[in-house]
Symmetry: C2
Subunit: 359 residues, 2 copies
Amino acid sequence: MSDPSPLAPGAIVGIIGGGQLGRMLAMAAARLGLRTIVLDPAAECPASQICNGHIVADYDNITALDELAQRCDVVTYEFENVPVRGVERLVGRVPVHPGTQPLEVAQDRLAEKDFLTAHGLVTAPYAVVDSQDAISGALEAVGGTGILKTRRLGYDGKGQMRITADGIPVDAFAQLGAVPLIVEGLVDFEYEISVIAGRGVDGSMTSFEPSRNEHRDGILAASTVPSGASDAVIAEARRLAALLLESLDYVGVLGLELFVMADGSLLANEFAPRVHNSGHWTEAACSPSQFEQHIRAVAGHQLADPVRHVDATMVNLIGDDVDDLAAFHADPRATIHLYGKSDTRPGRKMGHVTTVTPR
Amino acid sequence: MSDPSPLAPGAIVGIIGGGQLGRMLAMAAARLGLRTIVLDPAAECPASQICNGHIVADYDNITALDELAQRCDVVTYEFENVPVRGVERLVGRVPVHPGTQPLEVAQDRLAEKDFLTAHGLVTAPYAVVDSQDAISGALEAVGGTGILKTRRLGYDGKGQMRITADGIPVDAFAQLGAVPLIVEGLVDFEYEISVIAGRGVDGSMTSFEPSRNEHRDGILAASTVPSGASDAVIAEARRLAALLLESLDYVGVLGLELFVMADGSLLANEFAPRVHNSGHWTEAACSPSQFEQHIRAVAGHQLADPVRHVDATMVNLIGDDVDDLAAFHADPRATIHLYGKSDTRPGRKMGHVTTVTPR
């Protein structure tokens, strides 16, 4: 189905997934005069409070998907674990960006590593693990110390276990669910950066300045720009993101996480085929934000080369962090953004705060 | 009724009026984790696409107002022509900010001028006109040239007529509807500025830097910061806005329009007891925006002294201006904000664009 681009004000963007990313995409769409319909099984999902319509159904519900295709002018998704067969149901009925291939690649850590290395990006060494017995040999192949990860459905540090050659738990494979795994060699990187990059329907590409990311308990804790990376590292990071966008024939915004090595080389960690937590600072510090950039891309509008107005640090509000915002309220440089989640749970992302300082 | 301040995430802010100001207030509330219920008779009003609930009813519908009071933790309004008796229905049932007095004052040009002058602000000369015969004497009293205006329900240049002593139309009073009028003496000002100022439940006050405003056909066309006014003029403008906030015992944000005279003195033109079109640039250029500041105030949160990160010019998209946004899409410094209105009509505010440049 050809793209009816660009979408005029009043057109409808479908969003599969109604979490905080869908919520912020819906806000960006609204500011561009577009309407949104969200597909999410949770009646109280964060995006439901912002979107124009909410189809409450599972992501692979055929009736719901057909309704989404029928009511929307274009469809996108806000998380990488949308069932591919659901998105395939839409194809041919309504334009879908970024399409099925980025999902297929991003949903499987093995497919992802294979794709990255096949297209000129370097990753940490990795090997397949399909049984308890295979762990030892795979670990040796990646250097003797590594992280065992489920190939599918891992996020925020879930489905992972760090192992060394002399201490492989006898039930490691079982502990991770006896599902297909990979082991990634542990690399001694200096720090992590990520690039939020976008590609339009016309193939034009643009990226935000990479942020430096800190994690805590496997969850992103903070992202800061400027990252402290050299100009050469920044340029290389942007080049790699553009390479990935091209390789996937991608339309929309993605987030690419990279490890910066002592010699300045970059290893690709993983990418997410969607707006990314490490790009939330763009809302407070850039025009346009990553959310607007993604909506522009899927709506067929021209992308804008983003301008960063200020230095910025974004911190996630995780679990009961959200209970004490008074200090942030008092700081005019702090932009608070909460997600409308009514239940605070440990490890749950409740919001974020971006603190800016003049450049 | 005492204020249950500050409101916790998930609390509900009622907004009377669902136009673009209500829409932008609802977005700001959402980012602070608050929910919104809008009262507006138009099922398709701009805020209906963003808010969490929409009571479709007239502003003086008692049943609707009682429902609003029952469902909300605090109520505010987005335009100054809300019937005072409607807001009075809420008082005692739910906290209402900024309350009834600012409405009563702002709804009647005579009451407004009287209030401003009684509280230390200087206005252009003005006189009451209650009949055709009274025009001549009133005009003489204000200097011989002036603008005849309806006392109530005028906006965007509607309900106004410029007159001179030697050319008073014989049906001037009838043309303006044979309703109570005032005549304002024409003043030879250099330019107009406006101050967006806010006051919290605790009485603390803060203001945004004044913008310089240009009008076309009686409608705001553009607002620019910096305004070009001297530091002394800026300080005096902010002092007057604070004086007005105090005089009204105001909670929330208001917009005060001021004429800058050749000698640097300031005449108060009018104020609006709400967020103001001339403050839309704050969304793209400041943290917090006028919308967030207003929500903070009515929700009982601490106000933040706003920081302006960039220079900015906001232009309104009026009528079919909205049909050609390609040039703005191409400019990364341009933040487009459309209001979700499906019918484009001449003179209708369809959106705005704020173009920013580094300071």
